[in-house]
């Protein structure tokens, strides 16, 4: 077997999971050790991915069912690093709720394993396997705080709806297999001719399943409830990591086997994108719970990422990837600050809790201010550039309607971000919170804030990295 080193990340991660499971079973009170080892494992996996796969030309393994190229390596590294930070900042929160258990890091690792398998899948079956691995881990994670009714409800809701979407997805896969005689992306791509309208059914079913996973409208119903009910650290994980993986699959799936059918899926993507942007922006206005609000905001952000994908060009893909990367960083900053604030063992979750925060906590407030303006897409912050690249790609394809709708919905979205800023800065203050001041929370907040703030000084760096992704 040649080129086995290309799947070292997956192998290393699977072996580590098994080892950690055994360790957890046989050693008592090992939560802290397992947490720490898991963090290191994620970092090492990222390093392995970087070392072994980043410079490699496109290679296919295991009967062409696994693909390693620049896109998959880049997205794997982003996934692993995001998961790494999500895990490292979660310990104190979990301890507060007495759910600091060995299962938590192991479940996170398993879902990450599922995601990196998804990212490098070049075959419908491998893709489905990865997807289910990550989903099953995520169901359990959503219910992780099982003593709370909301958390259990979130998990159950997520499980039922997700299972339904997986069913649709599987049905789509079987249709495609039926029409082309293979599950391999390359063979499907060769079998296609653009007159094959029956295949469209398969594509639609798979798109529905994927849209569900990234919570694009109209398959978003689960997101607000699940985000609200899950423990905040899990919500943080939900808003970032699975989306990176699902977006990669979106790219791979649409641009490799079905690129010839672009006329068929482009309209669907444009619809998903417009609906998500508008709905996410409008629905967030009325929210009082911060986690629900972030759920809607993430729906509208996914809309922008999909807008980039719908262009059918390399620039579009690159802009989506830049978008999701910057979005992940902004989200990280936002959740780090959420995890910092608690009073009497209760974390801040509603908008009113933030009232007048700037009086007592000026530094945290200024970071939140920067992050929120960036989420709203106001220049010169990083969030603006994310949108700028997407709309540049969109307008280059003369899709003016999409661009104008997208930009108008940023104005609507600006309203609720401004509302948070208003509550932090203009309203009457409450007493100080007795915050969580762990080093890693401060670290991730500072890093993401500074990145957002000074991104405009060196905007070409990210573009240089991403511009090596050429799918078409």
């Amino acid at each position: 077997m040649e080129n086995l080193e290309l799947v070292f990340p997956e192998i290393f991660l699977s072996l580590s999971i098994m080892f950690l499971l055994l360790l957890g079973v046989f050693k008592k009170n090992s939560s802290t050790i397992i947490q720490n080892i898991s963090i290191i494992v994620l970092l090492i996996t990222a390093v392995i991915t970087f070392n072994e796969t980043i410079g490699v030309d496109e290679t296919k393994l295991f009967n062409n069912s696994i693909i390693v190229d620049y896109l998959s390596s880049f997205m794997k590294i982003v996934t692993l690093l995001a998961a790494f930070i999500a895990l490292i900042i979660s310990s104190n929160y979990l301890k507060t709720f007495k759910i600091f258990k060995i299962e938590y890091p192991i479940l996170i690792l398993s879902s990450v394993l599922g995601m990196i398998i998804m990212i490098s899948s070049n075959d419908l079956i491998v893709f489905y396997m990865g997807l289910e691995l990550q989903s099953l881990a995520l169901y359990v994670l959503a219910t992780f705080n099982r003593d709370q009714i909301k958390s259990s409800e979130a998990g159950l809701k997520y499980f039922v709806l997700s299972a339904l979407s997986s069913g649709l997805l599987l049905y789509g896969c079987s249709l495609i297999y039926g029409f082309t005689g293979s599950t391999n992306f390359d063979i499907i791509s060769n079998q296609l001719n653009s007159q094959e309208y029956s295949l469209t059914f398969g594509i639609v079913f798979i798109l529905v399943g994927l849209a569900f996973k990234i919570s694009a409208v109209p398959f978003h119903m689960w997101a607000p409830d699940v985000y609200e009910g899950s423990p905040t650290t899990v919500t943080l994980f939900f808003t970032m990591v699975p989306k990176i993986a699902a977006l990669t699959v979106f790219i791979r799936f649409l641009y490799v086997p079905f690129f010839n059918l672009i006329d068929q899926w482009q309209m669907i993507l444009i619809f998903l994108s417009i609906a998500s942007m508008i709905f996410g922006a409008v629905a967030a206005i009325g929210q009082k719970n911060l986690k629900r609000l972030i759920a809607y905001s993430s729906i509208s952000h996914i809309g922008y990422a999909l807008a980039g994908l719908s262009t059918g060009t390399n620039e579009g893909i690159q802009s989506s990837i830049i978008y999701i990367t910057i979005y992940v960083l902004m989200n990280l900053g936002f959740f780090s600050s959420l995890l910092m604030m608690r009073r009497d063992e209760k974390y801040y979750e509603t908008l009113d809790d933030l009232s007048g925060l700037s009086k007592n906590h000026p530094l945290l407030s200024i970071s939140l201010l920067i992050i929120l303006f960036s989420l709203a897409g106001i220049p010169p912050l990083a969030g603006f550039f994310a949108k700028f690249y997407v709309f540049k790609a969109v307008i280059e394809q003369s899709m003016y309607f999409l661009a104008i709708v997208g930009l108008l919905s940023t104005v609507i979205a600006a309203f609720y971000y401004l509302r948070i800023i208003k509550i932090i800065y203009f309203d009457k203050e409450k007493e100080k919170y007795d915050g969580d001041n762990s080093f890693w929370l401060k670290f991730s907040l500072t890093v993401s804030t500074i990145f957002i703030l000074i991104y405009f000084i060196f905007p070409s760096q990210i573009i240089d990295v991403v511009s090596r992704i050429n799918i078409i």
Partner: protein, 494 residues
């Protein structure tokens, strides 16, 4: 010229703000904080005067151009000034230190944060006036929203939240369309560099839509009737220093944008849409002047008068006559000085009596005579009395308008009369008349810093009123060049 003078102008206030950010905010530090920011802005002012001295008035080329790669093969960081933009830069650097001196009374808490916002604002505004790339321009243009939103929202009056939101969302809505237009220009021509675009020109068939997109943004910012409603709210609720910044500098971004981009890049479309601008400007002049006549709140009255004055500006710009555009620029500079001064005058009495209602006052001339004299100077300048800078601006605009369209000029001239009416009536009700309200007797006359600020504003107002040569010399060549290329492009297409 190797020293990057424009970048220094942009960066210096930000560096000052960074310095403030790292100082401790407590009562003892307040004075230090204030002096640091004052020092920064004064250095910036001196630097900009130095820029004016070095500036070659006989050339219409962009000078002090700095060109650096920013995003490879896409956008260059490019700044430079010509006769049109340099005056706005000086206006910005001149008003900012005055603003900083003026906040003795109006800002009580969080002084440090306020000064940071003001300084960052200055950076952004200088950036707007000096950028020679559409994307860079948009970046600065939009970024200015953030500090202004905070200034209104944190330090404003009772309805500050409503006003801050209205300000932010209105202007954001206007400018997103401009972003679409900018990206489209890149797509059509392959560059966003203004100098190159001037040479290349933009295909006529795209110009109309692009012009409208830019117009939507500038019209909101100017503000033109009927999208002016955010301005009175924002002015009334903003703290005095905020109103000054808003009136003196922010409103000028749009006027500048009209000259630089609407006329410069889309001459064909400007030709087509001139009647639209005329109609909106004339409505703004007459309609908002009448509204101003009925106001009971002093700040609101001055805010509406700003809309009317900006109506003259847009009218002057779209006459496409040498006098008209010169008049518009001088009117903008003059309005920058005068409206800033008027807001400060209102601030002075507001700090003492905590009321902006005209009916509170009356007969204060005997109690605070120094104030009354200075207030009179600015009232007269606002209504355009000969000998003040306001006159030069309005006169030139009307002269340009008469050359282009007689009817419009006649109607606009009516606006001058109504303008005189509301300003004089305001002055009469506040300063003269019987002293009814006995609380007014406790009012103290101007203190030293207030005298310094108001005199600083009065001197250029009067000086340029009698001797506008320095201003006109600076802008003359650039404008005549702009009009020349405008006429060549429109003539070849019709």
């Amino acid at each position: 010229m190797n020293f990057p003078i424009l970048s220094s102008l942009i960066l210096l206030p930000t560096i000052g703000a960074l310095f403030l950010f790292f100082t401790k905010s407590n009562k003892e530090n307040n004075l230090t904080v204030k002096y640091v920011s004052l020092f920064t802005s004064l250095v910036n002012f001196i630097l900009s005067i130095y820029l004016w001295i070095l500036f070659d008035q006989t050339s219409s080329e962009f000078q002090f151009v700095e060109d650096r790669v920013w995003i490879e093969n896409f956008i260059n960081y490019k700044v430079g000034v010509d006769g049109i933009s340099i005056l706005f830069i000086i206006l910005t650097t001149f008003i900012t230190p005055l603003c900083i001196i003026s906040i003795n009374n109006s800002v009580k808490n969080r002084l440090r944060e306020f000064l940071i916002a003001v300084l960052i604002m200055e950076s952004f505004m200088i950036g707007v006036f000096s950028s020679l790339d559409l994307v860079i321009f948009y970046l600065f243009f939009e970024a200015g929203l953030i500090p202004m939103f905070l200034i209104i929202g944190i330090w404003g009056g009772e309805r500050r939240v409503y006003s801050a939101f209205k300000f932010f969302l209105y202007t954001l809505l206007g400018s997103v369309l401009m972003l679409v237009a900018i990206i489209s220009i890149y797509w059509i021509t392959g560059t966003t560099d203004v100098i190159q675009l001037y040479e290349l020109g933009i295909d006529t068939k795209y110009q109309n839509l692009l012009w409208l997109a830019f117009f939507s943004s500038f019209a909101v910012k100017t503000p033109m009737w009927p999208v002016h409603t955010w301005l009175p709210d924002a002015h009334v609720e903003a703290p005095t220093a905020g109103s000054v910044l808003l009136a003196a500098i922010l409103l000028k971004m749009a006027g500048y944008g009209f000259i630089r981009f609407s006329l410069g890049l889309f001459p064909m479309a400007s030709e087509i849409f001139t009647p639209l601008v005329y109609i909106l400007s004339v409505i703004a002049i007459i309609f908002t002047s009448l509204i101003a006549l009925m106001q009971e709140d002093m700040k609101k009255l001055i805010a509406y008068s700003s809309v009317a004055h900006m109506g003259f500006v847009t009218l002057g710009i779209f006459t496409i006559q040498q006098q008209g555009i010169e008049g518009s620029i001088i009117q903008m500079i003059s309005h920058g000085l005068v409206s800033a001064a008027l807001f400060l005058c209102v601030g002075v009495v507001y700090d003492r009596m905590h009321s902006r209602l005209i009916s509170t006052y009356g007969g204060i001339v005997t109690i605070i005579p120094k104030y009354s004299v200075l207030f009179m100077v600015f009232t007269l300048a606002a209504l355009g009395l000969p000998g003040t800078s306001g006159f030069i601006g309005e006169f030139l605009i009307l002269m340009g308008a008469f050359k282009d369209n007689f009817l419009v000029a006649v109607v606009a001239s009516l606006g001058v009369i109504i303008g005189a009416a509301y300003m004089l009536w305001l002055y009469k009700r506040v300063v003269f008349g019987k002293l009814v309200n006995s609380d007014l007797k406790q009012m103290v006359d101007l203190n030293k810093s207030e005298i310094v600020i108001l005199t600083c504003l009065a001197i250029p107002t009067l000086f340029f009123g009698f001797y506008p040569e320095p201003l006109i010399n600076t802008i003359e060549v650039s404008i005549s060049d702009l009009i020349k290329s405008y006429n060549i492009q429109t003539a070849s297409n019709f």
